[in-house]
């Protein structure tokens, strides 16, 4: 039976945890010494003046990983309620074992096809070969900025 009172500790825990975290940040602000110099406030870069901004665009790989993660996370979400009811529905009371088993295996098989596709496309490759391939592609597409690239490399 659903009981809303059972969920109250989440709120209470949030109050305790967030209150603790905020108090720590405030204490740090109030007590610590404040002797600021321009050099001290610079972003760390091995003791040299920072070159350019840190917020460069970065490899598209990270973005792809996040995207694949979303899709597989949805698969996981479907697996959980299935796992919860599988044993009960497969039992003698309902006798739906084969149906439940086959449907989820179908689901997993279809997603596994997607996984193999991702693998074969080299999305999961972070090795030297994949990087060189990407570099060659970018070199081709960059055209005029090739000079700048060679300097960067």
């Amino acid at each position: 039976m659903f009981d809303l009172k059972a969920y109250l500790p989440i709120l209470l825990m949030f109050i305790v945890a967030a209150g603790f975290a905020v108090s720590q940040v405030l204490i740090s602000q109030l007590i610590g010494p404040k002797r600021r110099t321009p050099t001290k406030l610079m972003p760390y870069e091995c003791g040299k003046d920072p070159v350019g901004s840190a917020r460069e665009r970065f490899s598209v790989k990270f973005y792809l990983v996040a995207m694949i993660f979303v899709l597989f996370d949805i698969e996981l979400i479907f697996l959980v309620p299935w796992a919860v009811v599988f044993k009960r529905l497969a039992g003698p009371e309902f006798g739906l074992g084969t149906l439940m088993y086959v449907e989820m295996m179908l689901f997993i098989a279809l997603l596994f096809v997607g996984f193999v596709y991702i693998w074969k496309k080299g999305i999961l490759d972070w090795s030297q070969a994949a990087r060189q391939e990407a570099e060659a592609e970018a070199e081709m597409l960059a055209g005029q900025s090739g000079e700048r690239l060679r300097r960067a490399a």
């Binding site: 602000q29 406030l41 996981l76 999961l124």
Partner: protein, 351 residues
Amino acid sequence: MDLSNPYIQAALQFLAIFITFNVVLMIVAYTVLAERRILGFIQGRLGPNRVGPGGVLQPFADLLKFIFKEEIVPDKSTRFVYFLAPLIAVTAAMMTLIVYPFGPRVTLPYFGQVELVIARFDIALLYVLAVTSIGVYGIALAGWASNSKYSLMGGLRSSAQMISYELSLGLSLVGVILMSGTLDLYEIVEQQSGWYGFKWNIFPQFIGFVVYLTSAIAETNRVPFDLPEAETELVAGFHTEYSALKFALFFMAEYINMFTVSVLATTLFLGGWNVPGLALLFSPGSIPFAVFSVIGFFVKVFFFLFLYIWLRGTLPRFRFDQLMSFGWKFLLPVALLNVVLTATLVWLGVL
């Protein structure tokens, strides 16, 4: 005092949460000390032993030092996000503490029958996954807000690593859910009692256990998956630009995560508070039974914490491409295979 009054119940819950919170902070403080001492012994030196007898007051000395350090906010940082990130990290780390059962049902004088768990609700295990998935932001935003190259690279690597291993982590739990048919952690532990410990999920779910342990280490950014912090290449990764207590918050978040991950491993795979043969000595429900069960629970948790430290003293670090390949090309298929295998066995009526 009327114990069935909801306001009094809420007050008691708040008290229990506050006590748990403080106990966990103490455990975290001493895990840090234990780590430094054990690493010292592994490397043939003593480790911190000067503050108090054998160094037992070292955590408090460290805390005082953190409080009186200057707090530096880099001038190129995005201030709001820079302050928000450690708050997210530590809050998300603590939020799961309420769902773990640490002891059996016990009959106390005055209170009557009590279950030694703060919150029991339908979605407990999903709640753990949900909170873990929020924890990624603390690190990603910290890396971005600092506006330092090392931080950004560390934050980025870390979030990519965490989301990759989160999948294997979630899939390794599905095997346990299949066997127990519930998401309620208290019930999962209860189902593992009896048979002198041979009902523990580690035996039928050994693959799941190994996958869980591996992805849990990656999820907490520990050696050998500590690329986000990688001192030798990224200085300190996402918290390079953090100082004073805000750095301490990140540090705490990492160790609280270590603790909760160990607790979950104990709960799901090692039978939680079940101690083999304890029911022969004391009757279930009595106070000594509960006390020894709780002790047994913490012994298992500390074993995992020791394992973490031991690994740190032993293993080198992965390279980033190895890390991603391992997570996606090995751990994820193995976790999927474990789900299929468990489902087949449950379907055939073996498990």
